[in-house]
């Protein structure tokens, strides 16, 4: 067996937590318990988890509008996440950030980002801190296919290349940016673009946890050893709408069903580990149940939690005038 049991358990536990977390967020949103705009990460679990399993709290990630999965993979407390997503007191950002602005500095989670392409320049900064302070840590940015067209992302690639920053660029190509396909919007290819900045970049099947895990291992080792940035382009699927409530008319006839049947990273993981005899269905089911229980507990806590106190409006900013 190539992978330790501990690793497999950890991987599946985190992936199923993300999946169920997102499914539950959709339910709670539809029930009116979550305000605002929420973008779920379900379908992409293998990427976030395959990357973040190599990281400690000292390593840093920068996320996107679709950030729940990255948070969970990086070790954020799901109850505090739920409080945040519900806009409640005690949330990771005191309820002032919401789904699109979850951050957790203690866990090396530099923040979701509601501006497409906002993250990679900031992650360069985290990598610059590591380099300047002589730390062996790595900084990871997550970007989408749509995001790859934003100038800020391309500038970040170049600067990372120029300064040899320990920045691991993860592009999650789910082939959709809202209702626009990468086939239309990305002239050329993402990995090719990254390489044109003299940054090595591998393409990887983002529905296969093991593929992501191995590619990330290599990339992160490269970054940690002072060789500069590295990239991957993960071919992945979006399991749900762009945002919760999106009718997804841009999906082809039967497309979603096909993807869910054949490209579901959780199913693919389960099939692999059971067929290899590494884990049993019962073990996996148990992990599912544990995750469900934890999420249920978090949701109940979230529903019961009070709103932030009124004076929070004025705190955390120099606000006199």
């Amino acid at each position: 067996m190539k992978y330790s049991k501990q690793l497999l358990v950890e991987a599946y536990k985190t992936m199923t937590t993300i999946r169920q977390f997102e499914e539950r967020m959709i339910k709670e949103f539809m029930a009116g318990n979550i305000p605002g705009f929420v973008h779920t990460y379900d379908g992409q679990e293998a990427v976030g988890v395959g990357v973040c399993m190599h990281l400690s709290d000292e390593d840093i990630i920068g996320s996107t509008h679709r950030g729940h999965g990255h948070c969970i993979a990086k070790g954020c407390d799901i109850e505090l996440m739920i409080l945040e997503i519900m806009g409640k007191s005690g949330g990771l950002c005191k309820g002032k950030g919401g789904s699109m602005h979850i951050a957790d500095m203690d866990k090396g989670m530099l923040g979701a980002n509601a501006i497409v392409g906002g993250g990679p320049p900031l992650v360069n900064g985290a990598a610059l801190s590591m380099k300047t302070l002589g730390k062996p840590d790595v900084a990871v940015s997550f970007s989408g296919d749509g995001s790859s067209n934003q100038g800020t992302v391309m500038e970040a690639l170049n600067l990372a290349g120029v300064l040899d920053l320990p920045h691991f660029f993860v592009f999650e190509n789910n082939h959709l940016a809202e209702g626009t396909g990468d086939e239309y919007a990305v002239s050329g290819g993402i990995a090719e673009r990254v390489r044109a900045f003299d940054i090595p970049c591998d393409k990887v099947d983002g529905t296969d946890f093991f593929a992501v895990y191995e590619a990330s291992k290599k990339a992160i080792k490269h970054c940690r050893s002072g060789k500069g940035p590295y990239g991957i382009e993960a071919d992945v699927i979006r399991y749900d709408g762009h945002f919760i409530g999106d009718p997804q008319a841009y999906r082809g006839e039967g497309e979603l069903e096909y993807l869910r049947e054949h490209k579901d990273c959780l199913k693919i993981f389960r099939a692999r580990v059971t067929s290899e005899g590494w884990m049993s269905d019962t073990e996996l089911d148990e992990l599912d149940q544990h995750a469900a229980d934890a999420i249920e507990k978090g949701v109940q806590r979230g529903l019961a939690a009070p709103q932030p106190s009124a004076d929070e409006l004025y705190s955390d900013v120099y606000s006199s005038y």
Binding site: G87, K88, G95, G98, G151, E183, R251, P308, L313
Partner: protein
């Protein structure tokens, strides 16, 4: 100034929402003028997907139907690339087209601000009048939808500050249509800010084409006790307050400038000359806001008429918080507007 405003759509006209009114204006101008084009993310419906290419019409649906009607040569989906969108619109405007670029959320000016304020806005002046840049930048603005700190800003003060830009903030469907048509026909770059909370509000809107000139305020209510100036989504709130106070015998002018640049300062000054009292309601952050701007204009030019301190009712100097209770407290409320009016009425 004019008396148009919310009541200007004659009751015989069909009721339309702001969304419908803007969509109609776009349809009619594209029909009339083949040089009008639209560009932005999913404005034509989305592209490169397996399903419908008309899934969207802009994410808020404002450009719905235009792609099928005018074709993808004139309704152009783009990647996520705001600098390139605004730049393409400006360069196209310099060379014969009248582009309407959709920025989606005005908060995204941050990634394309150079193309707005340093390029498009300045061409006419810095090229000695030899370039014209007839373009419209449409964007949704404002708080109220729990969209949090990076999707809820107003930012009209920043745009109003910039010479060369015109800034439009319709408060109702009638104005939205007339102002949009005017914006498309204007030869300067126009920022057209659509408040999220107003899209579904409606009033009678003629089917015909009409324009509303820039720099002409609307008097939404009239009264000589106090002048209330409000913009965008603050206008309906100011009207509610005025109506409530009217029942008590306190009568206010409610002035909606409709465009903050150019600003109809005459209308405001004339009103204050009579009322002697001014409350300015602005959803933006307070520092260097349009509220401050209007206040300073009055403090300079109608000073001797003033009988009370000028009150600005604005958001606090904070980003927009996510939690609904905090966001509600962030936006100027009817209660705060009412209190401000009572304060200035009570003052010496």
């Amino acid at each position: 100034m004019s008396n148009a405003g919310i009541s200007a759509g004659n009751q015989n006209h069909p009721i339309k929402t702001v969304r419908e009114a803007i969509n109609e204006a776009l349809h009619q101008e594209m029909e009339r003028d083949p040089t009008v084009i639209i560009l932005g993310e999913e404005v034509a419906g989305g592209a490169g997907c397996k399903g419908s290419d008309e899934a969207y019409g802009g994410v808020f649906g404002l450009t719905k139907g235009l792609g099928p009607r005018f074709g993808r040569g004139r309704v152009i989906d783009t990647p996520i690339t705001e600098s390139a969108i605004i730049g393409a619109a400006a360069g196209a405007a310099n060379t014969g087209l009248r582009p309407v670029a959709e920025l989606m959320f005005v908060d995204f000016i941050g990634v394309c601000f150079d193309q707005i304020f340093n390029q498009a806005a300045k061409f006419r002046y810095m090229f000695g009048g030899k370039a014209t840049t007839p373009m419209v930048i449409r964007a949704t603005a404002g708080a109220g939808l729990r969209a949090a700190a990076q999707h809820s800003s107003m930012l009209h003060p920043v745009l109003t500050h910039m010479p060369g830009l015109k800034v439009v903030m319709p408060s109702n469907a009638y104005d939205a249509k007339g102002l949009m048509i005017q914006a498309i026909r204007d030869n300067d770059p126009v920022c057209f800010l659509e408040h999220k909370l107003l899209y579904e509000t409606s009033c009678p809107v003629p089917d015909e084409i009409y324009t509303i000139p820039f720099g002409e305020a609307a008097f939404c209510r009239e009264g000589s006790d106090c002048t209330i100036v409000a913009m965008g989504a603050m206008v309906p709130r100011a009207i509610l307050v005025a109506d409530k106070l009217a029942a008590e015998g306190i009568h206010c002018d409610v002035i909606d400038p409709r465009t903050t640049s150019p600003l109809d300062s005459e209308a405001i000054l004339e009103s204050v000359e009579v009322s002697g009292r001014l409350v300015v309601v602005d959803e933006a952050n307070p520092r260097c806001s349009v509220a401050a701007d209007i206040s300073s204009i009055v403090a300079e030019h109608a000073f001797s008429a003033l009988r009370a301190p000028i009150k600005c009712v604005t958001a606090p100097h904070t980003p927009v918080p996510f939690a609904p209770n905090l966001e509600d407290a962030y936006m100027p409320s009817e209660a705060r507007i009412e209190q401000a009016v009572r304060d200035v009425l009570g003052a010496r």
